[in-house]
């Protein structure tokens, strides 16, 4: 197909991509006790996909993470976030009142923890999906990034 003179770049990216992905999940689930949270984790996750697209080509990336999946992920994230609010309402609380999720008395923290974790998962999905969709929409208009383009 074409001479692969990006060999070093590809090999290094292959080792970096899993680390970036794991780091995104670390930031996501460690947000409760350290810096960072779902917004940052979503962006880091999206950057992993974008790096893959930049190095291995957009068509390859679209095979790994299809555009419909990215769009659906963004929509699902917003739905999860909104759904937690509705869950609280069904339990008799107010919208997004985590304390009402399990009808706990003040001082019980299960509802707060569950609510925060679910909401952050929603944010992760929404941010990662939206960012990947934006990149696909921008980069999908040219077939391949040629060397002379830089």
């Amino acid at each position: 197909m074409k001479s692969d003179h990006h060999l070093i770049l590809r090999v290094i990216a292959k080792t970096l991509l899993p680390l970036i992905t794991i780091y995104a999940f670390y930031v996501q689930f460690h947000g409760e006790v350290s810096a960072g949270g779902a917004f940052q984790a979503g962006v880091v996750l999206a950057v992993a996909v974008i790096l893959y697209a930049l190095i291995f080509g957009l068509a390859e990336a679209m095979r790994a993470v299809p555009p419909w999946f990215a769009r659906g992920l963004a929509a699902a994230g917003v739905l999860i976030y909104g759904g937690v609010g509705v869950w609280a309402m069904v339990q008799g609380g107010q919208y997004l009142e985590y304390q009402a999720l399990f009808n706990e008395p003040p001082g019980g923290h299960n509802g707060q923890h569950t609510g925060i974790i679910l909401v952050e998962i929603g944010v992760l999905f929404a941010v990662a999906g939206a960012m990947v969709s934006i990149f696909y929409a921008l980069a999908g208009r040219v077939a391949e990034i040629r060397d002379e383009d830089w």
Partner: protein, 200 residues
Amino acid sequence: MTGDMMGEASTSIISALLLSILFVMGVAIAHLRNLFAIVMLSGIYSLVCAAWYILVDAVDVGFTEAAVGAGMSTAVLLGAILLTSRNAKPERRFARLGPLAVCIAAGAMLIYATSDLPAAGDPASPANTGVGLTYLQINWADTGVPNVVTSVLASYRGFDTLGETLVVFIAGLAVVLLLGFGERSLAETLRKLKKEDKVP
């Protein structure tokens, strides 16, 4: 006491260094015409910004700046460069004077306003005495989450965060609606390229 003084002095030296790097980079970005170099420099600008935020103890802001400013927007701008030309058009001679005047006026106003700001970490500042202090006091009993930033973001201000998430979602939706889904235009370009290859 002397250790404190030393620490403070070195912090302000590093701060001045980072801010002067930012200034030099801003001037360089304004002078450059090559869009690729501009995008790369603005990514580095964000990274230096993130380092400075961490220096002033705004770890979450610094992290966000590094992830979004240096990572995400650089990648998106690189994608945007592909759709346009590689160099900005040369400007007319005196076209810069108007923007320069606006910049100087806005900068002077900002510097004038800075004199009213409380010192960094001032315990008597409005941010540390009002609702911020209340959050720090009631957070543990209310939510049991050790990181106050997380509990404020996701629990106390869940509505705000829902709005932010919607903003991100709508931004993605708007780009997709304006530019198309990407897969269709990618398939079209691939087909066109194949046709061109067949008929040399």
